[in-house]
Amino acid sequence: MGVPSTRTAQMAAMTTVGDDKPKKVRKRHKMRFWTYFWLIMAALYFLVPLYSTLQFSLETGQHAYGFKWYLQIFRDPMFRTTFLFSLRLAVETVIIGLALMVPTVYWVHLRLPRVRPVMDLISILPFVVPPVALVVGLSGVFNLMPWLLANSQILAFIYVILALPFTYRSLDAGMRAINVKTLTEAAQSVGAPGWKTLLFVILPNMRTAMLGAAFLTLAIVMGEYTISSLLLFNTFAVYIYYIGNTEAQPAAALAIISFALTWGTMMCLFFLAKTRGRASSGPTAAVGR
């Protein structure tokens, strides 16, 4: 009597196992379907606007394609002036930002670690104040000191604020990855003065973090429209808007050029992050909106 019962039990067990298998397989298939569904949706959403813009920018007539609009853009002297202007601003922003932030972050890590929460807070403030609101406040300041607006360099100083969250985070992460205190003490024990320590010991170790901050700043400045347009400076983004208002297809070509620019900058950033580990991993979303 006992034997059949165990057999039924065994059979029952076997049937449940047998029952379970197709269920799991079906579940896995369903899972795979949704995985691909969402990834394809995302790919479509990302790529269709790019493809449309590309097609629009290459269309030179009824079913005729070519680089006519791109050539027109590249030949436009305004393109060259505004592009170089924005590039110059970007380089200035990077230099001012790093010159200000590298010594500060180094000093805070070395001597004033308790100020770090305050630094964190200040560096997040540019997120709290939208660029439009910042311009309103700045124009109030410029009303009191109109001479500040006389030189276009003022934009670079404002952009340092826009890039501050990214610059600070990148440098802060970089400093945390190296042992600032030990390195400094080692340098001092062989008699290096403070500025030499910073220049020849800390800086070489911070190269990745600094380059990361620089590339993000570049991406931000090259696309910045809000502040420059409201303060009436002719930057690259202002030029793109101007072209868009006058000719649609060259504007599409410019959109593609600007995407390629962003792509190139970000690629440099990711390549950097990959080759040098995660020392400089920071946020990668910028403020161009």
Partner: protein
């Protein structure tokens, strides 16, 4: 604003505190002087931030709460709750909510598919890279890309017309719906970048444990997955809201004049395109924006701290 005063407070208390302990006289004062010198090192940064960020905010606050003739007033603030200014805030909040929830949900599904789905292994790094690029591809070029795609003569619009589907005039890219759809282009990648770490924190073991205890898919999500994810999810959505709310360039290029969002309104007040009786309105509108975005960033920070509990 409070941060710098906080900072200087610390300087003051330190200077005040040092003379107090008399017993260890020889060493303490030296240390305090060095401490005071240490503060000198951060002066350039604080001065810079004070001039280019705090001073504008202070000027903005002063102008918001004073009348043109001088003297305290709340009329500039109360104007925000009436007429077109109220409408602008409502429209801005609407677009931000729609694009935050739309981009948030879409991003969540995509990120989950990339992190936990059984797709090819190269998907995740590719997606991360692309998200970094796409979240930076915004502003004027993005608006043009969407006009080329879904504008009246856009590639997709024309394609759909050939297929017999006429989306115009029911839908236009220049409407609130079109604007939200465009915003998602920078909201989606941002969501994926923010939420991926939280999803990676959702361990396979938990699901296996729940399944071994006989939990169904739904029970697992309701009792384990969702409670763990919720703070991170809410935080990310809140951040997306603030992100969309502060956008200026994209809506300006897409719907200049068509839709009155708060940033657009501020822009036209600032550039003198509109004549208003109250010149302080731009300031109070900007103040309103700072308050709303400030609340979202604060909420994000709180939620993020809560979310971090599970991610160790």
């Amino acid at each position: 604003m409070t941060d710098v005063s906080e900072g200087s407070d610390i300087v003051l208390t330190e200077e005040l505190e040092t003379p107090a302990p008399v017993l260890s006289a020889p060493r303490r004062p030296r240390k305090s002087r060095r401490g005071a010198i240490a503060w000198v090192g951060v002066v350039p940064f604080f001065a810079y931030a004070a001039f280019f960020m705090l001073l504008p905010i202070i000027v903005l606050l002063l102008k918001t709460f004073t009348s043109v003739g001088g003297g305290f007033t709340l009329t500039n603030i109360s104007a925000l709750f009436h007429g077109q200014y109220r409408a602008a805030f409502i429209a801005s909040i609407e677009v931000s909510i729609v694009s935050a929830i739309g981009g948030g949900l879409f991003g969540l599904f995509v990120a989950y598919a990339a992190v936990h789905g059984r797709g090819p292994r190269w998907i995740q790094p590719l997606l991360t890279t692309f998200c970094g690029v796409a979240s930076n591809f915004a502003g004027i070029p993005l608006a043009f890309a969407f006009i080329a795609t879904l504008g009246p003569t856009g590639v997709i619009t024309v394609l759909l017309t050939h297929l017999g589907v006429h989306i115009y005039p029911h839908f236009t890219i220049f409407s609130l719906a079109g604007l939200s759809l465009t915003y998602i282009y920078f909201q989606l990648p941002l969501m994926i970048l923010i939420i991926a770490p939280s999803l990676e924190g959702l361990r396979e073991e938990w699901r296996e444990a729940a399944e071994n205890l006989g939990a169904t898919q739904r029970q697992y999500w309701w009792h384990v997955g969702l409670p763990v994810l919720l703070p991170g999810l809410a935080g990310a959505t809140v951040l997306l809201f603030g992100n969309a709310f502060s956008a200026y360039a994209t809506p300006y290029a897409l719907a200049s004049g068509g839709i009155n969002l708060v940033p657009i309104m501020i822009g036209s007040l600032l550039s003198g395109n509109v004549v208003v009786t109250n010149p302080r309105l731009g300031d109070s509108l900007a103040f309103g924006m700072i308050v709303i975005v400030g609340i979202t960033v604060f909420a994000y920070a709180l939620l993020q701290r809560r979310a971090a509990k599970w991610l160790q």
